[in-house]
Symmetry: C2
Subunit: 424 residues, 2 copies
């Protein structure tokens, strides 16, 4: 099936500088076939008029825990350990497989409605998350969070799902997840590394989110968390390192050569008072930095437009230098650089011929996006998720005119409501 | 005329803890007459069903430069002086009175659509700003920015407009504006203080936005900016002090007893790398702190929901303590405490009998506000301006179902477009 998009203002995210032009885009099944002015309409099945719309790559959320959606606003504004031990953990223990399904589905809806087309998830019961993701139409990298307990079972599950979804054009990619240096002993890390090598896939891990974490690792092993993982050969495989706040200069030397990259989670890092990731320095050292939301609870929104704003503000305030990062660099982090972090940059992250058609359409006819002196600045500093009008994933329209085409949003909310009533 | 609001979930902002209840609200002309469950509908002219809506006080934006709306995204991500001298000042010199009108009108529309009902503005040609504000239906405190040049004329204009709008139930309140300590010599400050005393009104001034500003005052007068103003008796009158970032402990002793308060502008302070205002400390010392956006250019959105989020994030990251501020305190700053900063707390800032009916209705039936574990947390951390469904100011519906009732939004955008084409 072919879809023709007419009259788009395209921000393609291909080059190092913004390339914005009025153009038509032809999609052949899942793939972008042609980008040109005035593509003739040869009676294509789908023709979309993108007049007054900015078309750009779908946003890439590089670190999530989708099933945590029920925790929105739940016992907020607390100290981290109080919140975890007295709010989150007791409820997580009671989550049933079906809960994981509906909670993840709610997150998918929120992501789609705010312009995210690809995410990278770490949680338990990945089978139920995958089911929700497939029903939502999204693209995702998914991993079963591995800690020191029941490790053999989780390794086996990861292997099982890896082979189940390891086919051409699969929208689901399976990663191995070692939860974090402080929750995984050396044997666990080694098993995860071995599995990732065996499957030729990557590892998703939390790294250096708090000073406390670095202290624990230092006391236990006399190393930084990065050194600890390096000694266990974790960086032999592609990685997504979530947070990366307390990276020393010697850590930086180790991380310079990783495949994958770091997921910067600005809002979560603020809400939990974790600290500010030195994105500018990491990127100057050639490390890919994507943007992630983290799970609902430590963030309160999966809207990547909110994360983009906060990422920019934090760098400008951390460096006390307004030129430290600009709007286009932030957009790169949320698209092509995020795709690089997930090892998906051959498929997504830009709008160019041959790539998968993961596109979002921003309604530009809004007062708060007016006047339009700089489209990139408007997208980062003035827009929010509610400005996303249309979402296409893998060539298929998932949302149009803010209406979800194949998703029963009300049913998902009702289901989550029941879970909340039972558990919270 | 009476308006009956049925089935509201009311967040009244009256007490020190959230008071949320299902209720009806009866408005008599401009005033809230009754708040009660099941108010009988005696054939009132207007009946609004607020089912699935949170009703709360309209947001109060304590520091704006409305006429700067044309600068959205204009030469962003630059150093402050480069941006001011090479982007902003040359264009401001060319602004015509009519430009001020249309630019201010665009800002009013953006504010209304994101739930702000009252603002505090400082710019030049206040007559044209007032005209736009009156046509938009908003409530505002407005001042003609006074620096050392043409001071007599600006003093006279301020006096003229003060008397013009100094009548019972006026939605326009005139303040005196001394621009900033570094742009006003002692004689100018004294003239402003004398005028404010004569008119029995307040002063709106920038204070301690940057280290550079404090350096200039220190070199010139051997004092902090706060001490400089104190010696000139500025704090004898009610004040709105915009920014207040570099307040020393001895400054704090001076500011403890002011009437009015400080306008915290979190996004502008980030975008210009100015620094982080220690809101927690100021409030602990009994100083009212409201939230403001500053002008478009140094911020890029007049959406107070964005400012609320950023205000919370900055405090949590600045203090490295997630309990340093909570969602309800942030909501207070954006409503009743902002009203106190503007000396309007007898009239607005809470929803209670006898106060002016400045109300906003938040559409609660959104996936990103779901589940509803904590309404205050949802409003601050998950909502954005696009969730505002209905806006009432002074008892009059200005927006309903996101449609502006008496404002020709497209015309305003067209007019601003012409100004942008001429000047930028």
């Amino acid at each position: 099936m072919k879809t023709l998009i007419k009259n788009a203002v395209l921000l393609d995210m291909v080059e190092n500088k913004p390339n914005i032009r009025k153009t038509d885009i032809l999609i052949n099944d899942k793939i972008i076939e042609k980008i040109d002015q005035n593509i003739e309409n040869l009676n294509y099945e789908n023709v979309i008029d993108a007049n007054e719309m900015i078309v750009m790559p779908g946003l890439v959320n590089t670190h999530t825990h989708l099933a945590m959606s029920i925790f929105r606003g739940y016992k907020d504004d607390r100290k981290l350990m109080d919140w975890l031990e007295n709010a989150i953990f007791p409820v997580e223990d009671k989550l049933r497989p079906d809960d994981i399904y509906w909670n993840s589905y709610l997150s998918c809806i929120e992501m789609i409605k705010s312009g995210t087309t690809t995410f990278n998830d770490m949680y338990f019961r990945m089978d139920k998350t995958i089911e929700a993701v497939e029903n939502s139409g999204m693209r995702g990298v998914i991993a079963w969070s591995i800690t020191d307990d029941s490790i053999r079972d989780k390794i086996e599950r990861t292997r099982e799902y890896f082979y189940k979804y390891n086919y051409k054009d699969s929208k689901i990619k399976i990663y191995v997840s070692a939860h974090a240096p402080y929750t995984c002993n050396p044997e666990t890390i080694k098993l995860c590394v071995d599995l990732a090598k065996e499957l030729n896939t990557g590892i998703h891990i939390h790294l250096s989110e708090t000073t406390k974490e670095e202290e624990i690792i230092s006391e236990k092993y006399g190393q930084t968390a990065t050194e600890y993982l390096n000694d266990l050969d974790l960086f032999d495989v592609p990685v997504v390192l979530a947070h990366g706040i307390y990276i020393s200069d010697s850590d930086l030397e180790i991380l310079k050569n990783i495949r994958g990259g770091i997921s910067h989670n600005p809002i979560s890092n603020c809400k939990l008072s974790s600290g500010i990731c030195n994105v500018t320095k990491l990127r100057k050292n050639g490390i890919n930095v994507g943007i992630g939301t983290d799970g609902i609870g430590s963030t309160s929104t999966l809207d990547m437009f909110e994360e983009m704003k906060t990422a920019a503000y934090l760098q400008k305030i951390n460096t006390m230098e307004p030129t430290s990062i600009n709007a286009y660099e932030i957009l790169k982090m949320a698209t092509i650089e995020g795709a690089k972090v997930l090892g998906l940059d051959d498929e997504i992250g830009t709008v160019e011929v041959g790539k998968k058609a993961d596109l979002i359409f921003i309604d530009n006819n809004k007062t708060h996006l007016y006047p339009e002196n700089d489209i990139c600045a408007n997208l980062v500093y003035s827009a929010n998720g509610a400005d996303v009008d249309t979402v296409m994933i893998d060539g298929k329209i998932i949302m149009q005119d803010r209406k979800l085409l194949d998703i029963d949003e009300e049913k998902v909310k009702e289901k989550v409501d029941k879970i909340v009533k039972r558990l919270l």
